[in-house]
Every structure is written in C-alpha cells, then in structure tokens.
C-alpha cells in the first residue's frame, strides 16, 4: 500500500454536487441509521412482551421530544432507503441507466421519501394525536 498522501478516488473535494451522488451517499447513511434504529424495534417488542409498565416507558420515550425527533429521522431514513432500494433493485435489472433517467429517478427517491414521511406523520397525528 502507498504511504504517500496522494488524494484517494473518488475525489469528493473536487466534485460538483449532483443528485446521483447524493442518493448514493444517502443510501449508505440511511442504511446505517436504520441499523442503529433497530434498537427502537428491539425496545418496542421486548417491552411489549415484558408488560404494561416497561411498554409505557418505551411509549413515553417515543412521545418525548427526543423520541419524536429520532422517530422522524428513522421514518424518513426508512422511506428513503425503501424507495432508493427499489431503485437499486431496478438498476440491478439493468433498468433506468440512461443519464436523464438516472437523474430523474434519483430525484424521485429524494422527493418521494419526503412525501412518504409527511404522509406517515400526518396520518399518525390525525389518528393518534401526539400520544
């Protein structure tokens, strides 16, 4: 391995930001965030099995400001990773590789994830309130 401090590829510092690299980077970041977010899944199921009191603690945390911010982040991560994951599966099937398609479906992942997240939260607040 080289010991000199040559710049490594990809040269992110000289890249102009474009949507294709944003979706690629976000897919990894949201994936790691969701892996961490499984803690919420574990807490929910284990507390539900343990009894009403532990479950109330987890629910209380979910309804707190920190809990809501984390859930908002995780729900958007889930929406984005889901939509962009479908996009990657279609790419695995050799679809959507023309540059204009690639750019368009990148934007679809980003905008679609925001719409989906908004829909989830509007529904959650409309049905359950901030409980």
């Amino acid at each position: 391995m080289s010991t000199s401090a040559r710049p490594l590829s990809p040269h992110l510092q000289v890249y102009r930001w474009q949507i294709q690299m944003v979706t690629s980077i976000l897919h990894r970041i949201t994936g790691v965030a969701l892996a961490v977010g499984t803690i919420m899944l574990i807490a929910l199921l284990v507390s539900l099995a343990a009894g009403p009191e532990p479950y109330a603690v987890v629910r209380g945390f979910c309804a707190s400001w920190l809990g809501l911010i984390l859930l908002l982040g995780w729900s958007w991560s889930l929406a984005f990773h889901l939509l962009n994951g479908i996009r990657h599966l279609l790419q695995d099937a050799l679809m959507g590789y023309a540059i204009h398609q690639f750019v368009r479906n990148s934007w679809l992942s980003v905008i679609g994830s925001l719409v989906l997240t908004a829909a989830i939260w509007v529904y959650a607040f409309a049905c359950g309130g901030a409980a």
Partner: protein, 134 residues
C-alpha cells in the same frame, strides 16, 4: 508470486489458492442482500401499517395485535430479514471505510454479534407475546 519462488515450491498453484475463498460463493453476499431487500419491500409496508396502528392502541390492544398469528408470523419474518439485511449492509460499509485490520475485524464480529443478539431478542419477545396468555 515470482517464477523462481514458484519453482522452488513443490506445491501447485491450486494448493496456494485453496482456502482463500471459493469463487462459487462470490455472489452469495450480493444475492442474499437483494433477496432480503425484495422481501423487505412488502414487509416494511406492513410494519409501517402496524406501527401506525400501535400509535392509538393501549397496551392490551398492542399486545393483542402482535399476538394475532398472522402478525406474529410476519413480525418474526420481518425481524429476520431486517437484521440479516442490516448485517450485510453494515459489513460492506465497514469493508469500504475501515482500513485498520484489527478494527475492521473486531467491528465485523461485533456487528454480527449485535445483529444476532438483537434479532433473537425480538424473536423471543414475539414468541412470548404470541404464546403467552397475557
């Protein structure tokens, strides 16, 4: 490997290659990552529906919802797919960005342990809910 070194060595090239990994398993990680991804598309939609139903449910209703055989079954499949897919994904991220050998190796093992621990904790919890009378 240089030609001289190879001639001094009585072992065949195949002998040197053996144990370094089979070419036949080269796509296994890729395939399992995609298969779990495909499974997770409908499962995530179902899980979001379940989570939104839980928002307005009290403890007894939440317990009864997960206790339903269909939901308990889907939840266990969802858990396995989620933790398997998470392990595979985080593995690639570590392979790409962690270049210190011991640190990469340690984190790979710890991520696997965490995924197995978290996954089985969830499965056990669902089993307790599904089989219990509470």
């Amino acid at each position: 490997m240089s030609a001289e070194l190879h001639e001094a060595d009585l072992r065949t090239p195949l002998k040197h290659a053996r144990g370094l990994g089979s070419a036949k398993s080269g796509t296994h990680h890729f395939m399992v990552q995609r298969v779990t991804a495909i499974a997770l598309i409908p499962l995530v939609v179902w899980a979001v529906w379940l989570a939104l139903t839980l928002v307005r449910a009290d403890y007894a209703q939440a317990h009864a919802l997960v206790q339903q055989p269909c939901n308990a079954l889907l939840m266990i499949i969802f858990i396995i797919a989620v933790f398997w897919h998470a392990q595979l994904g985080v593995q690639v991220v570590i392979e790409d960005y962690v270049h210190t050998h011991w640190l990469a190796l340690t984190s790979q093992v710890l991520v696997r342990f965490a995924c197995v621990l978290g996954g089985f904790a969830c499965v056990l919890a669902v089993a307790r809910i599904a089989l219990g009378n509470a």
